[in-house]
Amino acid sequence: MGFPHPSHSKETVVLSRYFGDAGARTYDGWVERGGYEALKRALAMTRDAIVEEVKASGLRGRGGAGFPTGLKWSFMPKDVVKPHYLVCNADESEPGTFKDREIMRWTPHALIEGCAIAAYAIGAERCYLYIRGEFTEPWKVMSAAVEQAYAMGALGADALGSGKRVDIVLHRGAGAYICGEETAMMNSIEGKRGNPRIKPPFPAVAGLFGMPTTINNVETLSAVPHILNRGAAWYKALCLGNPKSTGTKLISICGHIQRPGNYEVTMGTPVKEILYDMAGGPKPGRTFKAIIPGGSSVPIMTREEAEAALFDYEGIVEQGSMLGSAGMIVMDDTTDMVYQIWRLARFYAHESCAQCTQCREGTAWTTRILERILTGRGKQDDFQLLLDLCDNMTGKTICVLSDSCAAPVVSGIQKFRSEFEAYIAGAREPAMAVV
Amino acid sequence: MAIGVKVMRRPEREVSYVRATLKGMALTFKHMFEPKVTMQYPEQKSTTEWSISQRWRGTHRMLTDEQGRSKCVACGLCPQICPANCIKLVPGEDEQGNRYPLIYEIDEFRCVFCGYCQEVCPEEAIHVGVHFENAEYTRGRFVYDLERLQSQTHAVSTLWDPSDPQGE
């Protein structure tokens, strides 16, 4: 449902069914609502059978990359001779995205169940649930839920009486966007600086503490119990035409829109429907100007592009952007695009981990150039300089943070060049004072 | 006449000394009223028509910054490039941790005034000068120390600029 708004008829409510329902937060409340059935079922299955079921469902990673989850699980070594780990990525720090937060706040046991099933399926000794430091409320809810789950025997040495051990440990981040990157997250759990690691080795070979590790997003894991309960075929059928993108997807919509919030839709729903019908369209008297469809790291779409797009992994790519974490930032015609692109660049400059040269220096320099344009001192050469810099920042670093910084800048220059020109030509009042 | 001496008759106009003298005098007088090209050197150093080239490479000068300290940071490039090996440099460090020349001496006797030191200097500190009056009472005075180099006031040379080969 479109928390904090009532469910819209065009939504397909699966994960978000109990958003806003405080009763679902407790163990008993969750069991009443059909909880822990899937875990019980899973613990009775073989590990391979669970992986096959998830593979068949077509579930893809909801964190941004969209990698098939079942396939990811199948990469884990079968023979458990050394510890394996599962890491649940609850470091939702992509600007524009706030879906995992609601899952943890309202349905913590759904996530615990999903973690437990995944941990069992990949043979993980322990699941680390990495919650970002700023999520104080989800942290409290999750801590209480995990404690209860242990107390009720759903977790621990003898999970739900199956004789199998499932452990979940909560780990709190401390304010670093980059820790949402899977290898950086592993470093962070290990007590290191959250620096992304170079791949290979991939986490499934040498991940957390050097052991085989799988990392899944909160939304992905929360979907797993539903797949086991209702079957892969049901999940696969939740699809509007494109068989590569199946299931439901939570969309966070924010910015200049009537009803910001989370909406759960079937993959393949037209973006136009989501923006105008579910979220209520632009504020009165306004029109949309730009939409960033997948959290701040993806190329900006113009209104026309967004309205033409279908909402699934491939549909958004067709229109020149990416689905990412499905955090839609909507900007209407009052928005100063140059200022917002500068604000995004500043975000990346602040969050760069300082490892790769292109990212460390490039994000900061990009910010400075945009700052200069905003103070009215920009030059025509700055376009070329920005594009050169962004080219240098794309595809050359360990992780994709610098690519993420380049994406809005490059797409912004391509699609909203006139606004940059206005600052450079002095036709527009500087948005910033020269410091 | 017993022997026949042939007497040549010369034209009057060509043998008259009066005429030649007058001619010479005329030239002399003419020069008295023409502009003079001689410069009264020690009293007079240059004239509007004649002065030494801005590209002249003479004895050195060390430039100083606003505080009167030499601009030299003792990087060691000038002694390195000097073909005559006439620059002596010992670097030191002041209280602020800045590198500066503890000893900087140029032996102007050995110097071949190639100007490489000026060309190589990254700080634009050492310069060859537009200067040619080098008389001294002792040979030792031709080893210019830092103080001496800094106290020179003559113009510094504008080296040949490869991007403007014809220019002065």
């Binding site: 600086r193 969050e351 981990c353 300082a354 460390r360 050359k396 | 990087c75 060691g76 670097p91």
Partner: protein, 533 residues
């Protein structure tokens, strides 16, 4: 090597390298240097500088050559347009905040940033209108300064302290472009091997206080040598300017010290520059010494040896070369001999990340060589015997005052082959000036019986000669003789006649990385391939 070989083509040059070799090392074999900052063969590679990006055919994007292993049939282009453009981009970014202070930077001339920018960087800056980042110089430890402005955050220093020295006292602090190399207020960079971070630093960010402003890199003459500090025998380069030793730096030898040397060895060069040297042979003429020529002095030496009978004692410095120790030992073959080398002792300081590498307790570089030549470290016993011996040869040993006084009063003939002379010994029979290890060619045998060569780094003072030359001349007899060795290599060949362990071996065989002697005894435990992790 039993490893499987992989064939790759790098910039058109086919090479075969063991499986698992990173592209950067394979490229070296193909004669192509891939520019790099964070990569170092003796450190784990984090691939953060992104300087070594190369184009690999069929790869979707540029690959970091330092962590990408070669694959059979791979075609790599180090100097393709895209790789060059990427490197130019990295250099531009590294330079935006890098000060233009090469003129006052100690690293200038051996700076990798300077080199690569000169090689393939942009000619101009596009960052002109901004102020550069500025932070003051920090004091990291007894011999190390940190200049944050020059730092390019390659993290070699951090990784050295963490992974090789196993003492993580350096960190990367902050993040983004605010990042810098940090140190705790409570700990200093005073590890026994910390000086290596200065060498590892590709730019002039970490500086040695000892070397600060002393010389420009291009002024220095570098001589391949062996550290005279301890029995480890680290390969070093002695850097001199105008015949003055300015610094000692490690020279890579993967079997001995990889790329490192300890701070003790680094600082142990001042004695090489000592000024109060004996410059001419001195013979005793009544109550005083007279300077003389070598012919006279050598004749007197021979006379001393011929005239004496009974026992002879050799008191040698641990820094004497194998050649000198051997030939001096041969001088007294007809005597009953007690020969000792001096071995000062100190604290052992291992470098934990490299197996079998430490600053050793025994601070004598040629202890093992001396032992092979019949010397012992029993200094006190030899000293006692010296007081009753017929001939005592002191070979540059560092004597304490009591020993000097005792020797001066000893009944036997005392011949001093030395570099300096103590007042107490002003009355010995014969004083012959010898060179130090910095002033001669020679060999040392380290604790693992690896024999290694060192080269002459500076000229000898006055008439000083290597001790092997003196001994060789005396052995060959008076007058000009073809038998006397005229080079250290010839002197070395004479050793084989008497000590079979050196037989059949010449300086040419030893090369510049040394060679393990077949001593018959079991190899020293832990003497594996000196691979770091």
């Amino acid at each position: 090597m039993a490893d499987e070989l992989v064939n790759v083509t790098i910039d058109g040059m086919p090479v075969s390298v063991p499986k698992g070799t990173p592209i950067i090392e394979a490229a070296k074999q193909a004669g192509v240097l891939v520019p790099h900052y964070c990569y170092h063969p003796s450190l784990p590679s984090p691939a953060v500088c992104r300087m070594c990006l190369v184009e690999v055919e069929k790869a979707p994007k540029l690959m970091p050559a330092c962590v990408t292993s070669v694959v059979e049939g791979q075609v790599v282009h180090v100097n393709s347009a895209s790789a060059k453009k990427a490197r130019e981009g990295v250099l531009e970014l590294l330079l935006i905040n890098h000060p233009l202070d090469c003129p006052i930077c100690d690293q200038a001339g051996e700076c990798e940033l300077q080199d690569y920018v000169f090689q393939e960087g942009r000619a101009g800056t596009r960052y002109a209108e901004y102020a550069k980042r500025y932070s003051p110089v920090e004091d990291f430890g007894p011999d190390i300064l940190y200049v944050p402005n020059r730092c390019i955050l390659c993290t070699r220093c951090v990784r050295f302290m963490e992974d090789v020295a196993d003492a993580p006292v350096l960190n990367v602090s902050e993040r983004g472009d605010r990042a810098y190399i940090g140190i705790s207020e409570e700990q200093k960079l005073d590890h026994a091997w910390s000086g290596n971070v200065v060498d590892l630093c590709p730019v002039g960010s970490l500086l040695s206080k000892d070397f600060l402003h002393k010389a420009r890199a291009w002024d220095l003459d570098k001589t391949a040598s062996v550290c005279p500090g301890c029995t480890q025998g680290c390969n070093v380069s002695i850097d001199t300017r105008d015949d003055v030793v300015i610094r000692i730096r490690p020279r890579p030898n993967l079997e001995v010290n990889r790329h490192f040397m300890c701070d003790y060895g680094r600082a142990n060069y001042r004695w090489m520059n000592r000024g109060d040297r004996i410059e001419a042979p001195l013979v005793r003429d009544g109550a005083r010494h007279t300077a003389t020529d070598w012919d006279t002095a050598l004749a007197r030496f021979e006379q001393v040896l011929r005239g004496a009978s009974g026992s002879a004692v050799i008191l040698a410095t641990g820094r004497a070369s194998t050649e000198s120790l051997g030939l001096v030992r041969r001088l007294v073959d007809r005597f009953e001999v007690a020969a000792a080398v001096q071995v000062p002792l100190g604290e052992e300081a291992p470098l934990s990340g490299v197996p079998n590498l430490a600053l050793r307790r025994e601070r004598a570089p040629n202890l093992a060589g001396a032992e092979l030549l019949g010397y012992t470290p029993q200094w006190a016993a030899a000293m006692r015997q010296a007081l009753s011996a017929a001939v005592v040869i002191v070979l540059d040993a560092d004597l304490d005052q009591a020993d000097e006084a005792a020797l001066a009063a000893a009944p036997g003939m005392v011949v001093l082959l030395g570099t300096v002379i103590a007042d107490a010994l002003r009355n010995v029979e014969l004083v012959l000036p010898v060179t130090t290890m910095a002033e001669e060619n020679g060999t040392y045998v380290n604790r693992d019986h690896r024999i290694q060569r060192y080269q002459q780094a500076k000229s000898q003072p006055g008439m000083a000669r290597p001790a092997w030359w003196i001994a060789g001349e005396v052995l060959a007899g008076p007058g000009p003789s073809a038998d006397a060795p005229s080079t250290a290599a010839e002197a070395f060949e004479l050793l084989g006649e008497r000590w079979p362990v050196f037989a059949g071996l010449g300086h040419g065989d030893i090369g510049y990385t040394g060679r393990v002697l077949r001593t018959g005894s079991a190899p020293v435990p832990g003497r594996a391939e000196g691979a770091a992790r």
